[in-house]
Amino acid sequence: MRKVLRSKWIKLPVFLLCLGPVSELAWRALHHDLTANPIEFITHLTGDWTLRFVVITLAVTPARKLLHWPELIRFRRMLGLFAFFYGLLHFSTWIGVDKFFAWTEMLHDVRKRPFITAGFTGFVLMIPLALTSTAGWIRRLGGKRWLALHRLVYVTAAAGVVHYYWLVKSDVRKPLFYGALVALLFALRVGFWLASRRSRPAGGAIPSGITTAETA
C-alpha cells in the first residue's frame, strides 16, 4: 500500500476521483436530472462536498500517524484545494445564480442571517490558505508561520458545521455527524501535540506537518 502511495502515478487517479462530484453534476445537468429545484440541488451538493473535503483534508495528518503512512501527506494540498474548489462553486452558485449579483441583498444576508455569516466566514478563511498553498509561499512565510496560518482550517471546519446546523429545519443528524468528526479530528491533533510535548520536554517541538510538506 505504501508503495502505491509513493508511486508518481497515484496522484492522477486521486485527482480524477476528487472530480467525481462535479462530474455527477455535469452528468445530471446533461440528462435534465437536477430535481425540480436545480439551483437548490447544486447548492446542496457543492456545499456537502466542501464540508466533506475539509474533513478529509483534516484527516490526513491523523491518518498518517495512526496508520504509519507518512506518504499520505502528498495528497493533503490537493485535497485542501479541492475543498476550496467545491467551496468556490458553492459560493458562486449563491452569488451568481441564487441571488444573481444582488449585492445589497447579499450583504444584508451576511449581516443578518447567522447561517450565512457562518458559511461566508468559513469560505473567506479558505482564500488565504488556497493562495499560500504553493511551495514558494511555504518558503516565504517560513514553516512555523505557514503552519500557524493554516490552522485556520479548523475555524473553517467549525464554521462549516455551524453553517449546516443552522440551516436545517429539524433533522440535525447530518450536521451533528460532521460536527462529531471535526471534534474528533481536533481532539486527535491536541492528543498528538500533548504526546509530542511529553516526549520532547526540553527542545522546542518540531512542527509536525511542515517537515514533510509537499514540495514535489
Partner: protein, 320 residues
C-alpha cells in the same frame, strides 16, 4: 426374501459430465453473473431513476372554480417529486420514494369535539358530501419555493356545516395519520408526530379553505397527502395538513406541529407574509419551481382580497 434396491436415479437428475468437470468455473461464473446483475441494477438506478408514482384513479370534477388562478400550472412530476412529508423522510425526494407503502384504503376520518353531530366518515362518504371542484391555487412553502397546483375538492366549510359546530367552538384541530410501521422514517423527522395543525373557526369557514381529495384530475398520490388533506393557499404549505384522520372542534387554540418543534420560527397563523422574515431566511421572495429567478412573494400569497379581512386589526409581526 425382500431385497432392497437402491432408489433409481433418473437420468434427468444426473449432472451432465461437462458441468461436473467444470463445476468450479460454473460456481465462479454464477457468482460473477449475480454480482454483475446487482451492479447493473445499481447502475440502472443511477442512470434511470425510477419514477415512482403509482397509477392513480381519475377523479371526476363537476365544476371549475372562480377561485382558480390562470397562472401556469407546475408540472405534475415536479409537484410529486419535490415536496415535504416528514413522516416519509426529510429529503425533498424522500416522500415520492417512501410513501408508496402507505395504505389509503379503507380510510376513515373522525370528526368530533364541540359539534352537534360527532361522526366518523369513510373516505367515500366524505367525497360525496359536495360536488368536487377543480381549484388551481398558488402554494408557497415556508422554505421560499412555490408551485401552482390544480387541486380537487370542496370548501371545508361544507363538512363543518354537516357536523354543526357548537357555539363555544372557536378553533379546529387537525391530525394526520401516523403509523411507524408504514412510516419508519418518522422517528427521525425531528418534529413531534403525529402531525397536528389548527385553524381559527372563521379561517376554517373561509371558502378558500379546501378539503382536498385529488390533483391533476386524479386522486392524491400518496406523497402529496393521500387520500384526503387540507389546502390553505394563503398560508405557508406546512399548514395544509396531509393524510387527515381526525378533525376536532375545540375552545382553545390547538397545538401545531412546527410551532411545537420551534416556536420562535413557526407561528400558529403562518400566513404568507413577505414583510415578516423567517428568523433564518428572507420571505420577501420565492422561487417558483421551474423558474430561474426568484419572484417577489405576495401578501397572503396573493389572496389578500379574499382573506385580509380575517386579520384586520391584528399585529401580523406578533401573530406570525
Amino acid at each position: 426374501m425382500l431385497i432392497k434396491r437402491a432408489v433409481e436415479i433418473r437420468s434427468s437428475e444426473v449432472t451432465p459430465q461437462w458441468l461436473y468437470v467444470n463445476r468450479r468455473q460454473f460456481l465462479t461464473g454464477a457468482l460473477g453473473v449475480t454480482a454483475g446483475a446487482l451492479v447493473g441494477r445499481a447502475l440502472k438506478d443511477v442512470v434511470w431513476p425510477a419514477q415512482r408514482v403509482q397509477a392513480e384513479s381519475t377523479l371526476k370534477v363537476a365544476q371549475k372554480s372562480p377561485f382558480s388562478t390562470n397562472e401556469q400550472v407546475t408540472p405534475f412530476n415536479d409537484v410529486t417529486h419535490y415536496n415535504n412529508f416528514y413522516e416519509f423522510g426529510v429529503e425533498k425526494e424522500a416522500p415520492a420514494k417512501n410513501a408508496q407503502r402507505l395504505r389509503t384504503s379503507p380510510w376513515k376520518v373522525k370528526v368530533g369535539g364541540l359539534v352537534e353531530k360527532t361522526r366518523t366518515f369513510s373516505l367515500e362518504e366524505l367525497q360525496q358530501l359536495a360536488p368536487l371542484e377543480e381549484r388551481i391555487y398558488r402554494h408557497r412553502c415556508v422554505e421560499a419555493w412555490s408551485i401552482v397546483v390544480p387541486w380537487i375538492g370542496y370548501s371545508f366549510n361544507t363538512l363543518l356545516k354537516e357536523v354543526m359546530p357548537k357555539p363555544e367552538a372557536k378553533f379546529v384541530a387537525f391530525e394526520s395519520y401516523y403509523d411507524l410501521g408504514q412510516m419508519p422514517l418518522g422517528r427521525y423527522a425531528g418534529i413531534p408526530l403525529p402531525y397536528v395543525e389548527g385553524l381559527r373557526l372563521d379561517e376554517a369557514m373561509h371558502p378558500l379553505a379546501l378539503l382536498c381529495f385529488g390533483m391533476y384530475g386524479q386522486t392524491l398520490p400518496n406523497q402529496d397527502g393521500a387520500p384526503v388533506r387540507m389546502v390553505l393557499p394563503w398560508k405557508y404549505g406546512f399548514k395544509s395538513i396531509k393524510s387527515l384522520v381526525k378533525i376536532e372542534l375545540v375552545k382553545k387554540e390547538p397545538p401545531t406541529t412546527w410551532n411545537l418543534a420551534n416556536r420562535d420560527e413557526y407561528g400558529f397563523y403562518s400566513n404568507v407574509n413577505p414583510n415578516v422574515d423567517h428568523p433564518r431566511w428572507t420571505q420577501a421572495k420565492e422561487r417558483r419551481l421551474g423558474d430561474f429567478f426568484r419572484r417577489p412573494t405576495l401578501m397572503f400569497n396573493g389572496y389578500a382580497d379574499q382573506v385580509a379581512s380575517l386579520y384586520s386589526g391584528m399585529d401580523l409581526r406578533k401573530y406570525f
